[in-house]
């Protein structure tokens, strides 16, 4: 069933796949983020309680959902690395970690900037906020642990174990608003049978969510290619690729020089 995946364990195939996906991800991110942001900021109706401050939802909710989504994707990559001993799996794990950390930071920051006018505090030590902060530390832990090993296969294993153990935090974040008394409001869009948000507000939110997902995909493809080049530096196909890219850059620079000379 999963056999079609196996060729992508090879770094060269994975690199090519990244190159193919990358333009679509960037275009998707640009289009969806533009539409979602403009729609959310200017055209979505005001909230009857929170006025215009609720518009922070259009970045807060997507980044928060995807900070958890990226973590799960990272943990799955770690699991694949452990079970099938794929080097590319560990590489994609570490390629995803920084963008996941950025998403977590955005969720925390926009949450603080939303909490200040609504709750009267930038930060409270409540269950939802604290467990999301722990998610940020987990991302940082994975990045730091990976960086601490000289042998990157060992690094992948160690950081992978940490990523897998940290998965326990994901349901804690999700259910924190139900398990504990908290300032943070409950789920809004994950209750599909009875969403507690008006459709005029929901649509831009979903588009924005899609835009963030495309963006994470786009950055991951760039960072995975970086990881592959770094690890396969001495392979002929990487060297050929680098020579080609650099000579193209030089000829581009030369042609502009000629133009300026004229």
């Amino acid at each position: 069933m999963w056999k079609w995946l196996h060729p992508y364990a090879k770094t060269e195939r994975a690199y090519q796949l990244c190159l193919t996906l990358q333009p679509w991800f960037w275009v998707g991110a640009l289009v969806c983020l533009s539409i979602g942001t403009v729609w959310g900021l200017a055209f979505a109706p005001q909230d009857y309680q929170q006025g215009d401050s609720f518009r922070i939802i259009y970045i807060h909710v997507p980044s928060a959902i995807l900070s958890m989504g990226t973590y799960v994707a990272m943990a799955i990559a770690a699991l694949v690395g452990m079970v099938w001993q794929w080097r590319t799996a560990y590489m994609s794990m570490i390629a995803m970690a920084p963008i996941g950390a950025v998403m977590t930071f955005i969720a925390l920051f926009t949450g603080a900037a939303w909490g200040k006018p609504m709750w009267g505090a930038w930060w409270v030590w409540d269950a939802r906020l604290t467990s999301e902060l722990i998610l940020l530390f987990l991302y940082m832990g994975v990045i730091a642990l990976y960086g601490a090993f000289e042998d990157k296969q060992q690094a992948g294993k160690a950081a992978g174990v940490m990523a897998l153990v940290g998965v326990v935090n994901i349901p804690i974040i999700h259910y924190s608003v139900e398990w504990w008394n908290t300032l943070h409001q409950g789920a809004t869009i994950s209750k599909f049978d009875n969403p507690s948000i008006a459709p005029e507000m929901l649509w831009p939110l979903l588009i924005s969510l899609l835009g963030f997902a495309f963006f994470i995909g786009a950055v991951t493809t760039v960072r995975l290619r970086n990881e592959i080049v770094l690890r396969e530096m001495h392979r002929p196909w990487v060297q050929a690729l680098a020579m080609k890219a650099m000579s193209k850059q030089q000829s581009d620079a030369a042609s502009t020089f000629v133009k300026e000379g004229n």
Binding site: L41, A42, G51, D52, V102, V219, V229, Q239, A242, M246
Partner: protein, 69 residues
């Protein structure tokens, strides 16, 4: 359009500071990680070329030494 004028839009119903701070920090953070990834890519490709040329120089020097001996 939910706002009467552009000034109204900027004011965000009195929440201008919080709304624009959130959106500003978000997009700056996203731009930083994207640009950093691309800069690193260029640096790595350059490093590959430099490394390859260094190896070629070493090989050439060894060859010359052997020829001289």
């Amino acid at each position: 359009m939910q706002f009467e004028s552009f000034a109204d839009f900027l004011a965000m119903g009195g929440y201008a500071f919080y709304v624009w701070l959130s959106f500003g920090v978000t997009f700056v953070a996203m731009a930083i990680i994207a640009v950093q990834s691309f800069i690193k890519h260029r640096g790595l490709l350059k490093q590959v070329v430099v490394e390859k040329e260094r190896k070629a120089r070493i090989k050439k020097a060894r060859q010359q030494q052997q020829d001289n001996a």
